[in-house]
């Protein structure tokens, strides 16, 4: 057996496939153009594919909880988010932002520029600079393709264990996403590596500052969260998927102090205007 084949068979064995299954899989791979082709199908997604994947992920996220019914608020959050995103290395992505109708406190990014903030999170924010900080953090996840990379890892494993059906030259990533419904749900329930979260914090602070906001928007949100009861039901998923707010503040501190002399608006009046309805909305 050639080394590459051997490695693959070993990998499959690790994944629980029997030798027979592994051999069958190798036959399938050969029929569909060989190992090189299979690996080629697992190349990095194009931007179009990334956006397709993100759309599929967002369909699931909004399937769990739909949008909050306030068109003006949705447009406002989109305008703030798009402004912060314009300061990033990927201003031309089709950035889409939404506030969902969840009382839990959280925010989500999906590949390709889809970002959702919960109503519960919006209620904890004190001004537009804090909103910009939260959105900056999520935008950073997209810039760095954190979720895309995590999902691709699952895709590789799925392909290897699922066999020939997925290993065609025409694999469309949208189809992969349908097969990835499970891994998608698992990823958003488990969260990313801590390092990715700390990186998103650092980049998020910079993005909001580039956009002209007070650099201490995101740190202010973390300060608020740091005082909340970690056992609070509304924070359960956030705490499960992110490092502790205090740890995040400690990690941010070295870089933050370099931005200390920078000031920026908080735009409190228009923030209060647009968030009025959700603060009044009963639980």
């Amino acid at each position: 057996m050639r080394p590459a084949r051997m490695a693959l068979v070993l990998l499959l064995a690790l994944g629980g496939c029997s030798l027979q299954q592994s051999e069958a899989f190798m036959r399938n791979i050969n029929e569909s153009g060989g190992l090189k082709q299979t690996v080629k199908d697992l190349r990095e997604p194009t931007q179009a594919e990334e956006i397709e994947i993100g759309g599929g992920v967002t369909e699931i996220l909004l399937g769990a909880r739909p949008l909050f019914d306030d068109a003006d608020l949705q447009r406002y959050v989109n305008a703030v988010g798009m402004w912060v995103a314009q300061q990033s290395e990927r201003p031309d992505l089709p950035w889409h932002f939404g506030v969902n109708d969840s009382d839990h406190i959280n925010a989500f990014a999906a590949p390709g520029g889809y970002i959702i903030v919960t109503k519960g999170m919006m209620k904890q924010l004190r001004n537009e600079a804090e909103l910009a900080g939260v959105l900056g953090h999520e935008i950073a996840h997209v810039i760095q393709k954190h979720h895309l990379k995590a999902l691709r890892k699952s895709a590789v494993m799925n392909l290897l264990s699922a066999g020939a059906a997925a290993a065609t030259a025409e694999s469309r990533y949208a189809e992969l996403v349908q097969k990835l419904s499970g891994p998608t749900k698992e990823l958003y329930a488990r969260g990313l590596d801590k390092a990715d979260e700390y990186e998103a914090d650092r980049m998020g602070v910079v993005l909001a500052t580039r956009a002209g906001y007070d650099p201490y928007g995101l740190p202010a949100v973390l300060t608020t969260l740091a005082s909340a009861d970690p056992k609070d039901n509304f924070l359960a998923l956030l705490y499960k998927t992110h490092p502790l707010p205090q740890d995040r503040l400690d990690k941010l501190a070295p870089g933050l102090t370099t931005l200390d002399t920078i000031q920026g608006p908080q735009n409190l009046p228009r923030f209060q205007l647009y968030t009025k309805k959700l603060r009044v909305a009963s639980q």
Binding site: T58, I60, L61, L62, G63, A64, R65, R75, N78, V80, M82, W83, Q86, E89, P91, P94, H96, N100, Y114, T118, K123, Q124, R126, K185, A189, Y198, E199, R202, M203, V206, A211, G212, Y213, D214, Y216, A220, T223, T224, A226, S227, A228, D229, K231, D232, N233, L235, A236, L237, L249, K251, A253, G255, T258, D260, I262, G264, P265, N267, R270, Q283
Partner: protein, 173 residues
């Protein structure tokens, strides 16, 4: 006499919600500064777990007042909200009921009426393409984002990303 009592109640209830004070405490020994600058005069050094009332938040700084009525500025990073002996955010009753931000008060046992986003909600979710289409309907163009920025006096700046040590990254990470 009853009238005076009612007047007092009316007065308390009429205090604008936006001005309710937050309380907190120092996470470590912190310098109380006369002005919100690192090189401003140090008024005194507050010990760890000093209780403070937060009067103003300004960027990296908070203007606070101590129990001994000393006033000055401390760095936000040195302060945690709430009571040092409690896990949850405290403060006096007035600030608790008049806080602008609604603190989540429901415990894990109370679930009726809550619209959540838990692991279970995620596990049960079926894809909702119509809702994604609706979300896309609210997208802002870069031009309208720029308008929002101009109206909000937001001036874009060139800032470089930094690493975990605070050092500038020469190129995009």
């Amino acid at each position: 006499m009853r009238c005076r009592a009612w007047l007092a109640v009316a007065l308390i209830l009429s205090i604008p919600l936006a001005y309710a004070a937050e309380t907190g405490y120092t996470l470590r020994a912190a310098e109380l500064k006369a002005k919100p600058f690192l090189d401003a005069e140090t008024v005194t050094t507050l010990p760890e777990k000093s209780q403070v009332e937060i009067l103003i938040r300004q960027g990296a700084w908070m203007q606070i007042k101590t129990k001994e009525n000393r006033q000055g500025w401390v760095r936000m990073l040195s302060v945690r909200l709430g009571d040092p002996d409690q896990k949850t955010r405290g403060g006096n009753l007035l600030s608790a009921i008049s806080s602008v931000r609604q603190r989540p008060v429901m415990t894990a046992t109370v679930t009726t009426g809550v619209r959540g986003f838990s692991e279970e909600d995620l596990a049960k979710a079926t894809p909702n393409p119509a809702e994604v289409a609706k979300m896309k309907g609210f997208t802002a163009s870069p031009a309208s984002a720029r308008q929002l920025a101009d109206k909000g006096k937001l001036k874009p700046r060139q800032i470089v990303y930094f690493d975990e040590n605070g050092a500038s990254l020469k190129e995009k990470k």
